[in-house]
Symmetry: C2
Subunit: 204 residues, 2 copies
């Protein structure tokens, strides 16, 4: 969401693409739609429901318990949706090719690198090369935050005036952020470490 | 289909994946299902219907006329579904990662190279590198026919005993192969050039 604000603030015409890949809740989809309508020339949400049986191992889309503590190598691995970024990016590249747009942006950050192989700089670089080779418009993939931490993104978002009260991190989809799951803890820390006021109301 | 026979004949346990991406007809899906059930440990057909609006520019999925002559650069380009192979392969890689399988095979051939950028050896090589980087099992993508022509594949299939009467090439989905569209003409030529008997009944 910060990246979208970042591009829109520089006058880039954005086409937003959101994926419903069988998340446990609709909260992040609703917020994506809200910002997509506000900041994009066009915004689409597409469903990956049909490939749910292909990507169903993960706790995020399946029935397993969501890890209730800070990310560790072992429990963060449970939250991996296999090859998710490659699937989503290849669809985004297809849309870009169709619209004759030459740039696709996505927002992995440095905290993701340790565990998620498809959030690493080298992965982005090589997939971008594949996209260039595979399309007539030679579409490129950019991940401008891939080397910076979530706290630096919060600081950048604060400068950009992002309303973080209208963003969602929690793996659960309850009324409030749970405050305990890995992504809630990362969210809290990002605000604390960057000295940016956190508008989130946590249940715990 | 020849590649599937080729792998199965060497005792490779295959998991078949077929995509319904909004083709104009169900013929190739029905044949894929037939061979998938026969030769694979498991076969799935997944629908890309939800991303149809993303990939809808092509005549294969849209309403445009199918070119009624031999492939030329201009008219073959009309049959490109944008970034199709990257989308399909990324989903296949996700399934492989889920099944802890390390190899994904697909069957582009040398005739495709000139027009379809996502059928070229370098594209396959780089996308395979991205798949390895993006997955824990370091899944690789193989396209063993990427350097050989369709006629060589027919010769190979003949040796393997492939029943080509149960395969489908025609862009139209009528009772018989039309015999006139680009892919029918390529099919005819592949049999003629390889001196393999052609079991296909063409309308023209």
């Amino acid at each position: 969401m910060t990246l979208l604000h970042d591009l829109a603030a520089r006058g880039v015409e954005c086409y937003g693409l959101t994926f419903d890949y069988g998340q446990r809740h609709r909260k992040e989809l609703a917020y994506a739609h809200y910002w997509g309508k506000k900041l994009c020339a066009m915004h689409k949400t597409v469903s990956l429901g049909a490939i749910k049986s292909i990507i169903s191992s993960s706790v995020l889309t399946g029935k397993g318990d969501i890890p209730k503590q800070h990310y560790t190598h072992a429990n963060q691995k449970l939250t991996v949706v296999p090859n998710r970024n490659m699937v989503m990016l290849s669809i985004a590249v297809a849309w870009a090719e169709n619209l004759k747009i030459k740039e696709v942006y996505f927002g992995p950050h440095a905290n993701d690198n340790a565990i998620y192989p498809d959030c690493r700089p080298r992965f982005v670089e090589v997939l971008s090369m594949a996209a260039q080779l595979g399309t007539y418009s030679q579409v490129k993939i950019y991940a401008p935050y891939v080397h910076i931490r979530k706290s630096d993104i919060a600081a950048r978002g604060h400068l950009l005036g992002v309303d973080y009260s209208r963003t969602w991190s929690c793996y659960e989809g309850k009324k409030l952020h749970c405050g305990k799951c890995g992504t809630c803890q990362e969210r809290k820390e990002a605000f604390i470490n960057s000295h940016v006021p956190d508008p989130t109301i946590y249940r715990q």
